[in-house]
Amino acid sequence: MTTTAPPPTPPSLELKTYWCHECDMSVSLTSSHSPSPSPPLCPQCHTHFLELMDSPFSQNDADSFLHSSSSLFDVVFQDALLLLAPSPRKTHTTETILPIITVTETLLSLLDPNGVVLCAVCKDAISVDEEAKQLPCDHLYHSDCITPWLRLRSSCPLCRFRISEDENEDENDEDDEEDLNGADVMREMMARMAELSEDDFYGLRMTLNYIASRHELLHSNASGGGDHHDASSEVGGDVDGES
């Protein structure tokens, strides 16, 4: 008995956060033994439907984050800042209440070649036989997801198509000026975006559209003078610099 077993390492009480799929909430547990043989148990409902959530970042993460290289998205995003977006088409419909439809395979494959349509409100895929509503702009949502939104604002979350006939809300000051060139570049960029993220979970297409149209707005506001034109998109927009 000359060698003694190394003393058991003191249990490092590490606080870990799990997501309980049963309770639909996050729970914090202390894991006392590292290679725990039994799966963690939810203190609320005592089931094992727990999924480990990552801990927040450390300073190291922030450092490597700073030095990580830019992606294709970066390039696309930079393009977006320089682009002009075609303004959303506005037609008016008397159809205020949209009928609830039952989703069919035909409808899904009509909207997407792979038949995968994401509900932009809950970000879940819309399945066959689910109850849904299709807006006049063709965008499809779960019925339960879109109805509360339409009660707040009768516009499509994705393209802002207005559904109700009351036009006396804001946004009347938008002039529809077709910029074919801008639209063309935008279309090409959208194609590149489509390659990048198939299901567009984050709504990046919509985001790019928004950024581009805002950029256009800034430019048209700033260059009200006339002949003054800025192509290099200086920081701060096109500020009239007469002195």
Binding site: T17, K123, M206
Partner: protein, 157 residues
Amino acid sequence: MQASRARLFKEYKEVQREKTADPDIQLVCDDSNIFKWTALIKGPSETPFEGGIFQLAFSVPEHYPLQPPQVRFLTKIFHPNVHFKTGEICLDILKTAWSPAWTLQSVCRAIIALMAHPEPDSPLNCDSGNLLRSGDVKGYQSMARMYTRLAAMPKKG
């Protein structure tokens, strides 16, 4: 409440899955509260915020995504549309132009775009707005750059 949790958890999982998709944004959910998030965003290049890392705090309402999240800068920033003391952000999509199709990630994107293209006509930081409105782009840029260096650059250690 249930719907907002489910939606946030989807965003959480997507953020985990697509960590490298967007190197300018790092979104992290609070340990114990899925309605509280923090984001680190990189100052856009060719702006006075380049090289800086800015921290944002998100507070998500229980009716999310029908209601927009509340976002503010935790890192000091000199920008016409950000309140210098509180970090409050003046951005249409966080107010009247909100749509439930937006995510925390795409909100970060819009904020980066706002950093690159300030709107001096709706200022929360009047000094910064006045500089830009009076055409003093140089003055605005040097002030903004100074605060980026002071507040948003990682400390050498």
